[in-house]
Amino acid sequence: MPQALARALRALPAIALAAAAQAAPDGDWPMAAHDYASTRFSPLADITAANAATLKLAFTFSTGVVRGHEAAPLVVGNTMFIVTPYPNVVYALDLSQPGAPLRWRFEPKPEAFAQGVACCDVVNRGLAVDDGKVFLNTLDNQTIAIDAANGKELWRYRMGDIRAGETRTMAPLVVKGRVLIGNSGGEYGVRGWLIALDAQKGKELWRAYSTGPDREVLIGSDYKPFYAKERGTDLGVKTWPADAWKVGGGTVWGWISYDPELDLVYYGTANPGPWNAEQRPGDNKFTSGLFARDLATGQARWFYQLSPHDEFDYDAVNENVLIDLQVAGKPRKVLVHPDRNGYVYVIDRATGEVVSATPFVQVNTSTGVDLATGELRYAPGKHQRTGTVVRDICPAAPGGKDWQPSAYSPRTQLLYLPHQNLCQDQEAMQTGYIAGTPYVGAIVKMKPGPGGHRGRVTAWDPAAAKARWTIDEDLPVWSGALATAGDLVFYGTMDGWFKAVDAKSGRLVWQFKTGSGIVGQPIAYRGPDGKQYIAVLSGVGGWAGAVVAGDLDTRDGSAAAGFANVMGDLKQRTTKGGMLYVFALP
């Protein structure tokens, strides 16, 4: 790898703020998003577009579980940590030995009942490693700290009632000794929260709910939202029918980012429950919106609701990539948030002002965002009314892009979005809250979006707010993306192809057929031998792959909340699996 390029690379920090805390050695991948800015950018540049074609398999590891593998392998030092879907087994692989044998394994033995209440496959989106400890979220609402050296359990924190449909699938984020976790289960009427635990002993430091009175949402004196519509007291109660906020959803199951300079934590809240919006008039605050909270106290600094009174299950839990952007000549600290409602938001992360909001897929549920008031203007024809069918809702419930995280390359200054291209027909139905049963109230059938292809990878230029290049994929691209300093972007397809494309042009450079559909998050690390390795978990599942992972029957179009109608051929394209694949240059 030409030394000049490597030196030039290191000379570029001015533009790209790699906000990696305490500058971890650039070969490691300590957290799912690689860094607190959630860039998923690997500074390693050994593998470039030129030599990628010669990539070959270094070693593999079978996880022994066949559900959706959405996690990102983590590498710290010369140990790789991977976590499986339910029963959430943690494996530590010794990278110093050839073939990376197992160093230790940890089985949390979560409650079997949890499998029945995970709405969209019994997935786990990853671990976090910090200060010699591995932090694991289990499906049955436990957060466990494990000693990275020997796999012994240090402490275990339980919070959440599995019988009421509450589960935990997100990857925790550890910042300055605080472990940030959130719950999932919005489809069961679970009221969302974000909790900070002390990393040493697992004691709860603060808890911020997504609905309810201000003191429970930790809204206090230093809550200064940019837009007037977010100001008011107890909005978490006033914008709901009586009592509805107690089963109002707004769970926190997605990605969290942290800005050390502003000391703010950024995360999104899920959609309000139930899907039948007519049963919950009002803006349904603080669901489908972005929170910025102080790390130490959890007090909210600002909040921006992306989809007020959401009618189409547009959670706002997607990743917030923190970058500095030239806006009207001045550099501004922004976060880029590709949302399920079909818009890529560029928001000033200090104040919460929306700089730009541009659709990256075909959107007909709304006509645009009014930057002056921050209001999302809904299209009148698509409103939900109980008992009537609304057709051609684009984007569909999983949105323009669902949970699968994007990657940002400071070199090309492009955000690489792996996403889907789906629309749907939906009928809102009367429904009631019965504890432990889904509280949805809608029948959905999805169908391919315009163009007929169901997936796409988009290289998005946040400054110009338009797509530089796109790759159309037949199946939804449900895997995460990885950008490397070698100007390569890695992603996987749902029928098992693991692909590398040139970051500048999108040209396919290398691909490898894995055993099962890829819904995991690829990572890059430097092995003990100094070589660059690319690792990804293959094992189809998640909401899109539930048809295969759950053996569903596609003759019923509404199965898997509507995905069965559009994934009828997935059973022919892939089978279940659970395998780690690691590649390297020969």
Binding site: V65, V66, R67, Y86, P87, A112, F113, A114, Q115, G116, V117, A118, C119, C120, D121, R163, E187, V389, D425, Q426, E427, M429, T431, G432, I434, G436, T437, P438, Y439, V440, I443, K445, A546, A549, G550, D551, L552, D553, T554, R555, D556, G557, S558, A559, A560, A561, A564, N565, K576
Partner: protein, 189 residues
């Protein structure tokens, strides 16, 4: 010639009316009250209860699976009690698919009754204390009609709602066979 023809026609008519009447009465009766208390099974999770449930199922077939009112009441409760949340309209979701031929714990009415009443370890909640027994039998009859196992005449036609699958009355019966859980669902025991 005509008198013999007449006799044979008469006998044929009486026979067909008899058949029509019995199947008709069974299919069309609207019994709004549940059977007398002794006839069905308590929902205690004891082994005795399960044996009784399965034994009772045979007697219950005429009253539920072949009765149009019971199966359609089962379909209404399927939506009312949010079963469609996990099992959709038989295709499955977080819960297993019920319209195919794979039955994790067995496809007979008695076993389905116990699944609903006592729940199952892998995530099926127990409704025994929350749903009256008569309604659990109605739900069990509807679940069997999802796979086309209830009588086609009594099975419900399409709903006045969004079409997601062919109606239960038109779905061809799936030969039920119980498959060991691990192979079927990939879920470790």
């Amino acid at each position: 010639m005509s008198s013999r023809f007449l006799d044979r026609a008469l006998v044929l008519a009486v026979a067909s009316v008899g058949a029509l009447t019995s199947s008709g009465c069974e299919r069309e009766s609207r019994d709004f009250l549940p059977p007398k208390p002794g006839a069905e099974v308590g929902h205690a999770a004891s082994a005795a209860a399960s044996a009784a449930a399965i034994a009772n199922a045979a007697a219950m077939v005429g009253r539920y699976e072949h009765n149009a009112h019971a199966v359609s009441a089962g379909k209404r409760l399927w939506t009312w009690y949010n079963c469609s949340g996990c099992h959709a309209n038989g295709g499955g979701g977080s819960g297993p698919a019920l319209m195919d031929d794979v039955w994790i714990y067995g496809g007979d009415a008695g076993t389905i009754y116990l699944t609903i009443a006592n729940g199952r370890p892998n995530g099926m909640p127990a409704f025994g204390s929350r749903i009256p027994k008569d309604q659990i039998w109605q739900l069990a009859a509807y679940v069997r009609s999802l796979a086309g196992l209830a009588s086609a005449d009594a099975a419900p036609n399409r709903d006045d709602a969004f079409l997601t699958r062919t109606p239960e009355s038109a779905s061809d019966p799936q030969k039920p066979e119980t498959v060991k859980p691990s192979v079927a669902t990939g879920r470790p025991q």
